[in-house]
């Protein structure tokens, strides 16, 4: 692979991060360094190798679909930045 192309504005948008120009410059350099290091994986022969998503031999875990107590409304809202009438308040989404 050639030197990776880094579109920091696109990545910041996907990541939902408002970055300053100074942060963009620094992150682009750091990302370039790390991608350069990661490049060594291209040397490994992975033909016919299955991917590992996690290391435990567990696949489907099923349990009975029965209701049980969860967080109370009060507990669920105790860390909400803004709330009213048992709901979380956000700015208007639809004009």
């Amino acid at each position: 692979m050639s030197a990776p192309h880094i579109d920091i504005d696109h990545l910041a948008m996907l990541s939902r991060l408002a970055l300053t120009d100074a942060e963009k410059t620094k992150l682009t350099t750091q990302l370039g360094d790390i991608l350069g290091y990661i490049e060594q994986l291209q040397q490994v022969n992975v033909d016919g190798v299955e991917p590992t998503a996690h290391a435990t031999p567990i696949f489907n875990v099923l349990q009975a679909d029965e209701p049980r107590p969860g967080l109370s409304v009060e507990d669920a809202l105790r860390n909400a930045p803004a709330q009213r009438d048992n709901m979380i308040v956000v700015p208007r989404v639809v004009e």
């Binding site: 939902r16 992975v46 190798v49 996690h54 567990i58 349990q63």
Partner: protein, 490 residues
Amino acid sequence: MSDTPLHFKTVAELSSLLANGSLTSVALTEAVITRTLAVEDRVQAFNSHDRESALNQAKASDARRAAGRSLGPLDGIPIGLKDVIAVRDQPLTASSKILANFVSPYDATVTTRLRDAGMVFWGRLNMDEFAMGSSTENSATRITANPHDLTRIPGGSSGGSAAALAAGQLPATLGSDTGGSIRQPAALCGVVGLKPTYGRISRYGLIAYASSLDQIGPFGRTVEDVAMLLQAIAGADDRDSTSFDAPVPDYRAALSAPRERPWRIGIPKEYFGAGLDPEVATAVQNAIAHYRSLGAEIREISLPHTEYALAAYYIIATAEASSNLARFDGVRYGHRSREAETLLDIYFKSRAEGFGSEVKLRIILGTYVLSSGYYDAYYGRAQKVRTLIRQDFTRAFGEVDVILTPTAPTPAFKRGEKSADPLAMYLADIYTIGVNLAGLPAISMPCGFTTAGLPIGLQLIGRPFAEADLLAAAHAYDHANDWSKHTPNL
């Protein structure tokens, strides 16, 4: 035992004193609080603590014991949790500004199990923000010092858990380990730390960093203490579908169980190459010699894909992190920007203000490796390399019982030495990361000190869910050497 101050006694010793009535939980908890406050201005291991809550728990423990209803060997013993594990009604910050005012509405499963064992919660311990780091310098709350040399870092990300234990501020702590975050700080602070098999312990109530790698584990002064703590928290949990329903044996009893044949210990040549500090190498060779003198059979082995583990880790871990940390959006909990006018603004600005620079870097890197056009070349390839790394270990365990390596390539480094260069910092985890990719259990224990007085750690790696064997192999060395008696002068 008698001349060790209370704050440097082991959990096993404290358990005996509580059981025979020569110590109360209230007296012990008060001693722990006094010691914490006496050295905390130098160590800076705690994000928060709650004296009234701790003393109330201690009183309840003493009352249970007086009524003949003790909850077992850990009842009344204080423990501190890394500030990434939920304790109901206590702050939970992950050492991040984005959770600066968060109070947990529920208990993690490990917290529930420690309550059921009667342990007394004292303190929320500092860490690298969201467990991303190897020095605890990425904390947004404070900089924790290594108790053996206050100008040096304690390791990370569970630096507060290791430093508080080494400093005598707590007799036991919990941390979490995604790429070495229990074992590396344990090594650098001269204590014992266990990263259990992936699935051995429920992750319910652990703030997620990389879900396929994260595992909670105990820190203690001795392997025996770690075995006692593991006993309390191990086992399946229907709130974490990745926890595994394997039997939980009696880990403490296994430490001294007779063995039918000598240990076969594998020494992977890839873990002793360039970059290994000579004093660390010597201490580890001395430990190998000690095992040989105990009758162990030492075999050189090869884990040929070791050199690719760090690269695979930084793709997989950051990919998972970029997804996990999407939940911090300023809407339901956590920091919400005061500058935001639209919903989209809330996301962008709350995250920009709340996350530190290393967290932003890892979110950006994870987003990159998952993004359209790069997914197969990075994430897909890393998952295949992960398979090869697992197969290396599986093959090795066909001929050996445990694998012995250094825990970290160097002793504790100076504060600020690597903080400007993420890649240099990542190399601090080079010997611990393969274990997480393979999902294996591994322990770090002290194996000596440098001439400058810095602790050196030895890592033993075991087969999946064979913690009993791993702990027994570690105990054989730890019990005979007793490095835990070398406490820092604070």
